[in-house]
Amino acid sequence: MQNKIIISPSNKKAIAILKDLQDKKAKLQSHFAKKGKIGSLKLKNA
């Protein structure tokens, strides 16, 4: 059985966390998709 979580629309905290994780993931993907030497990445408080 798949573990799952259902987030109610009233749970603004969880929705904000998911949005933050989504944004960070997009930044990570974009950073590591760069051509050549990629350098450092600071994500927290970005």
Binding site: I7, I17, L18, Q22, K25, A26, L28, K35, I38, S40
Partner: protein, 177 residues
């Protein structure tokens, strides 16, 4: 078993990026980024913070969105990279992954992680857990789904504590305050 040659680059930010080139000429990166620097949300969790890395795979510019033909060498290469990383960082390392909803293929990517887990387990004993997280509207209809999961060695000395932390992450998420 056929696979591509690959290289690993360690950066000052603590991340490790492995690179390889497929026979189509497309460059790939498999990356591992310290979880504690990924989000403040991870920091309260001792083991996830200390030993966790967010892992992911991307194609490199200008082919980051190119659709590639099926290539079993890529899968074998990624598996070897995961094994190499775990062997380098030791028994306590935690590999976290997040399949997000940006392109609607999160379920497919989560299934891929599960398949890799199944196949890697033929080489080394790895424990995996994953959860799908679905936000719904006022009528209960799903709006978006993410998948979060982790891999650790079966022999990880902190296995039970890590499972407890992952459970706490989920419990904290459903708490409204």
């Amino acid at each position: 078993m056929s696979f591509y040659s690959f290289l690993a680059e360690h950066d000052d930010d603590g991340s490790v990026a492995y690179a390889f080139t497929a026979k189509t000429g497309t460059d790939y990166r498999v990356y591992f980024y310290p979880a504690k620097d990924y989000s403040d949300y991870v920091v309260p969790y001792r083991f996830l913070s200390e030993f966790g890395f967010i892992c992911g795979i991307t194609k490199v510019v200008p082919n980051e969105f190119k659709i590639e033909p099926f290539d079993s060498w890529i899968k074998e290469t990624v598996k070897l990279i995961f094994i190499d990383f775990i062997e380098e960082f030791g028994d306590e390392v935690i590999l976290l992954y997040h399949c997000d909803y940006h392109d609607g293929k999160q379920r497919k990517r989560n299934s891929l992680f599960k398949l890799w887990h199944f196949e890697i387990t033929e080489r080394i004993a790895i424990y995996m857990e994953d959860t799908d997280i679905t936000a719904v509207d006022e009528d209960g209809n799903p709006i978006l789904t993410n998948y979060l999961g982790f891999f650790i060695l079966e022999a990880n000395p902190n296995k039970e504590a890590i499972q407890a932390e992952f459970h706490s992450v989920k419990s904290d998420l459903i708490r409204e305050k």
